[in-house]
């Protein structure tokens, strides 16, 4: 027997594709996020708004009791799609989501660039698609916890507190609205975060960009509007666009008198641009000139 034949054996079986090759990336990304000291403080605090709104749903079913305790001065609390829109598309939740993506998303690609880990990923049977899916799923996990999960909890708890399906029958499309809005805002923030994370190796820089661009766009909107009195400048603001589309999804009046399609187009265009840049930036080999 020649030496070449000895020492290793050939695999005679068939190679099988793993069902979810991106799952280890997601699992590790979530684990890493939970390891951060400040995140352990922030994570439970991020649900306070949802708890507050849930309390509102409870109070809405016990309004008569509260009125008997505090008199007729207790304002009526209507739980309707507008209530859901106030929570999900409100500025405060968007701010919490921004902080959340800074924690879970700012280092997703920038750390891989910093430590030259992309070569390690792509020398495995892992496609670029799986890599992005894995990274995106980390952000999706945390943002769904803030949007989709509370949205459904509100619907279910409203029916439980009311003791009937009346609420659901009044707004049967509401669960679909919750899903649609959660998917929209999560998809946007995923593209937004991953795009910025791929721009630089410094997580600090990426975090500042995530925050700065979001708030900078809002300041720009305000300044242009004050000067030109044209609501179309709201297309410059990320939060304005999200709130515009969110209002339509929940069948509410849009905050700005411009067509919501324009806001959707802006958000979509940003996601497409981010996708192109990500595809270009994430490579197995970096050529340094």
């Amino acid at each position: 027997m020649t030496i070449k034949e000895k020492g290793y054996t050939h695999w005679d079986g068939e190679f099988q594709d793993k069902k979810f090759p991106w799952w280890p990336i997601t699992r590790y990304g979530i684990k890493l996020t939970f390891r951060k000291k400040f995140f352990k403080l922030f994570f439970p605090a991020s649900f306070l708004l949802a708890v507050f709104f849930l309390a509102g749903i409870y109070i809405s079913e016990r309004l008569d009791d509260f009125k008997s305790m505090f008199g007729e001065s207790v304002p009526s609390l209507q739980i309707d799609p507008a209530y859901f829109k106030t929570y999900l598309a409100g500025g405060f939740l968007l701010f919490i989501m921004l902080i959340m993506v800074i924690f879970c998303g700012s280092g997703l690609i920038s750390d891989d660039l910093k430590h030259n880990a992309l070569q390690l990923y792509f020398s495995r049977p892992l496609k670029k698609r799986d890599y992005f899916l894995g990274k995106t799923a980390v952000i999706v996990f945390f943002l769904f916890l803030l949007t989709l999960v509370p949205g459904f909890v509100f619907i279910i708890m409203k029916m439980i507190f009311a003791g009937s399906f009346k609420f659901f029958l009044s707004y049967p499309w509401l669960p679909l609205s919750v899903i649609a809005y959660s998917v929209l805002v999560t998809a946007f923030f995923s593209f937004y975060t991953l795009f910025l994370s791929s721009l630089n190796k410094s997580r600090l820089f990426v975090a500042i960009l995530i925050f700065g661009i979001y708030f900078g766009s809002e300041i720009l909107r305000a300044i242009f509007y004050e000067n030109f009195h044209n609501h179309h400048f709201s297309l410059l603001s990320i939060s304005a666009n999200i709130q515009q589309v969110g209002a339509v999804i929940f069948n509410q009046k849009t905050p700005y008198p411009i067509h919501w399609i324009l806001s959707l187009l802006v958000l979509t265009a940003f996601c497409i641009l981010a996708g192109f840049v990500l595809k270009k930036k994430v490579k197995g080999v970096e050529i340094v000139k």
Binding site: K36, F38, L204, I208, F211, G212, G216, I219, A222, E226
Partner: protein
């Protein structure tokens, strides 16, 4: 001062100058500086758009200096200088820690405090230059019709000085934060866009716990009308006191940062 102490001071200042030169050169070359330059030029683009619109619009144009004072300066004051100071201030220490390059600096014959101060000075200079370029360009664009009115240049000088003081003060604070905390970004963002904005709405003397209060005290009171929402503030402090407080805050935080940096042990994460 004895000859020995003069010699020591001269050596220290030379060290400061050398560290400053090293990091000024490096900061100028870096990719991040180019990106921040683009970001700090954004108000110039806004000014350009407004000016072009004024040329083609039938409406009576608002005075350029009015827009400059109430929009451009505020954009820098309440947003851009915070972003710049936060990034560069925290980077003074964290950049060397994350990059594991601190060893190269601490094995040179220069005091640790000189490393910190020299790097702080280099980064602060760079972001002051960035900001000054943006503010000056915005000023020229918005006051294109009024460039021969030399009294306006006093306003430009005043605003550049106020923004520079803001950068010096905020960067010193974030340098201190970067020295004590490994991951200071969230704290920095919450301070810049939470505390600095919210505290000004608190009554009484609580607003004096914000650096923004002292900076706004050096600027004229906003007239009601457009853009006034951007410059909300309560009772301002006298200008001299405001300058004194800004410089005091700078000196205190830089001093604390120097002491901590010299005393603390930095162990790289493997």
């Amino acid at each position: 001062m004895t000859q020995k102490s003069t010699g020591k001071l001269s050596f220290y200042l030379t060290s400061l100058k050398d560290v400053y030169s090293f990091f000024f050169f490096m900061g100028r070359k870096s990719k991040k500086m180019k990106l921040f330059f683009l970001i700090s030029i954004l108000p110039v683009v806004v000014a350009l758009i407004i000016k072009i619109n004024q040329f083609f619009s039938d409406r009576t144009a608002i005075q350029g200096i009015y827009i400059f004072n109430n929009m451009t300066v505020v954009m820098y004051l309440q947003f851009l200088i915070l972003i710049l100071a936060l990034f560069y201030g925290t980077s003074v220490c964290s950049e060397e820690m994350e990059g594991k390059t601190l060893t190269y600096l601490t094995t040179r014959p220069i005091a640790k405090s000189a490393i910190l101060l020299g790097k702080y000075a280099a980064y602060t200079s760079l972001i002051i230059i960035l900001t000054a370029i943006g503010v000056t360009l915005s000023f020229f664009i918005l006051n294109l019709n009024d460039l021969l009115n030399f009294s306006l240049y006093k306003i430009l000088l005043r605003d550049v000085v106020v923004l520079s003081l803001g950068l010096i003060c905020y960067t010193s604070f974030f340098t201190f934060i970067g020295t004590i905390m490994k991951k200071s970004i969230i704290f920095g963002l919450v301070f810049s866009f939470g505390w600095e904005n919210v505290i000004q709405y608190f009554p009484g003397s609580t607003q004096r716990f914000a650096i923004a209060h002292y900076l706004k005290s050096l600027l004229p009171a906003p007239k009601t009308g457009r853009f006034s929402f951007l410059m909300f503030r309560l009772e301002p402090s006298p200008p001299l006191l405001a300058v004194f407080m800004i410089l005091l805050i700078t000196v205190v935080f830089l001093g604390l940062a120097c002491v901590l940096f010299s005393w603390k042990e930095y162990i790289f994460e493997d």
